[in-house]
Symmetry: C2
Subunit: 270 residues, 2 copies
């Protein structure tokens, strides 16, 4: 029998900071089809990033964001703030709005139900603080929740099993969930953001590549045609495909349904 | 067949503010027996209150606590703060510490999985703001989680199903959970706090009443022997017993195991 389908959808900070666009996105998310054309059940899971609120709250509390090479350093006070903002305020805002739309959302961090185990990033040139690299996803938990009709909404926090929460990159979290759950589900990993997808020519918004395979990607990267911020995203995406994820789709959050139908965004294939 | 047993344990703010006592309590909580003497499974669920952190954070952010007759008025800014603190920081601290102790905790607000539906308190002399009175508990969700081996850790927040989170009294929340779940489980509701239990004589710490029935309670109340802060707690407790809860136990958090064995605290019976 075919495995059920699971969409793992990452929604980023830009959208989370914009109430109106976020509400429109959540409506699209809650209206995703429940089965494929061939009546295979479709499950879904949302992973959210942070947005500006943690930085703003930190400033109000005299805990300025410390960024090194575009990465947030997570000292103890910063961890407290991101736990409040990512695990509390943002996660519950998404849940309460999805509930209103009839979508049975349940918010989780990686600590809840031992969903995602990680270890503190050590021995790197930069001291990241309380930042976690993922070791293990509790697939059984997600399977149980999904099959009960629950839609997990996952905040970018994990734990180490020793009483410590860890700040974790939301893209990586989404990817690790997709890889781990591909044993049980046919997984599609969707990175939604403010751009149309991967462009053949950065200067041309209409040069969208509707599909890119690994060979084509290496070519584009070698030619310097991939926007530098996109490189780690795509490297991760191709790694996910190698590790069992069925497809990775990158595109505009507002076009969620078109992304899934292959009518918008860029679909990455092996 | 006998219904499985469920302990619904409320832990209050005083304990939450004290790292050391909290850690000791969580160890007791995680070591509760898994079955009765007659091999009936025992499940457990934790409901937590707020503590001082919301007030402190509010002061730091220029949102002073507004108390009217001992109750916190929840305006929009205060709701944001309690969502961050109760739903985020405190809830996740409890979860991550319980996980460390091998207890498979999963944090919830009433919005998560549509766990607890409420409506905004209206038409009262005091304008409480975003405060919720409970309408419905999703027993099926709790049953599913508990039977999967998950220990729910519930923050004192509910939702109205229309996109609004609501601040909700943790004692009342624990009580409503106990009443609703008594259809499925033999429920014991435990209010743990810093006192030994109900005293026959307020001046005498050693005048603990090990058991009080409804008749005795009305007698004590009429004689003015019940500490005024205790009256709403006990009124609620007797209402819970009338509504199907098997027993209500009130006593010191540090004596959790003795409370359950009837060797400490006050057990309320019909």
């Amino acid at each position: 029998m075919d495995k059920p389908v699971l969409y793992i959808i990452k929604v980023g900070g830009h959208l989370i900071d914009d109430q109106k666009r976020l509400a429109a996105f959540l409506e699209l998310f809650s209206n995703l089809p429940a089965t494929t054309n061939t009546e295979i059940p479709i499950y879904k899971l949302l992973v959210h990033g942070g947005g500006k609120m943690a930085t703003q709250l930190g400033e109000q509390l005299g805990v300025p964001a410390q960024m090194v090479e575009g990465r947030r350093i997570t000292d103890s006070e910063t961890l407290k703030i991101v736990t409040m903002v990512y695990g509390g305020y943002l996660n519950k805002q998404l849940v309460v709005q999805l509930q209103q739309l009839g979508c049975n959302a349940l918010g989780l961090t990686g600590a809840d139900g031992n969903a995602v185990l990680a270890h503190k990033r050590e021995n790197t040139q930069i001291e990241y603080g309380w930042v976690g690299d993922i070791d293990q996803v509790n697939s059984e938990l997600f399977k149980t929740l999904l099959k009960t009709g629950i839609v997990p909404v996952v905040a970018p926090l994990t734990h180490n099993g020793k009483g410590q929460l860890l700040n974790t990159n939301a893209d990586t979290l989404a990817q690790e969930l997709a890889v781990s759950l591909s044993n049980i589900f046919t997984t599609s990993l969707l990175f939604t953001f403010e751009k149309e997808g991967v462009l053949a020519d950065l200067a041309q918004e209409n040069s969208l590549l509707s599909s890119v395979n690994a060979g084509e990607y290496h070519h584009l990267k070698a030619e310097g045609k991939i926007f530098s911020g996109m490189v780690p995203k795509l490297d991760n995406a191709f790694r996910a495909l190698e590790a069992g994820v069925n497809q990775v789709i990158i595109g505009k959050a507002e076009k969620l349904h078109e992304l899934i139908q292959g009518k918008a965004g860029t679909t990455l294939v092996k």
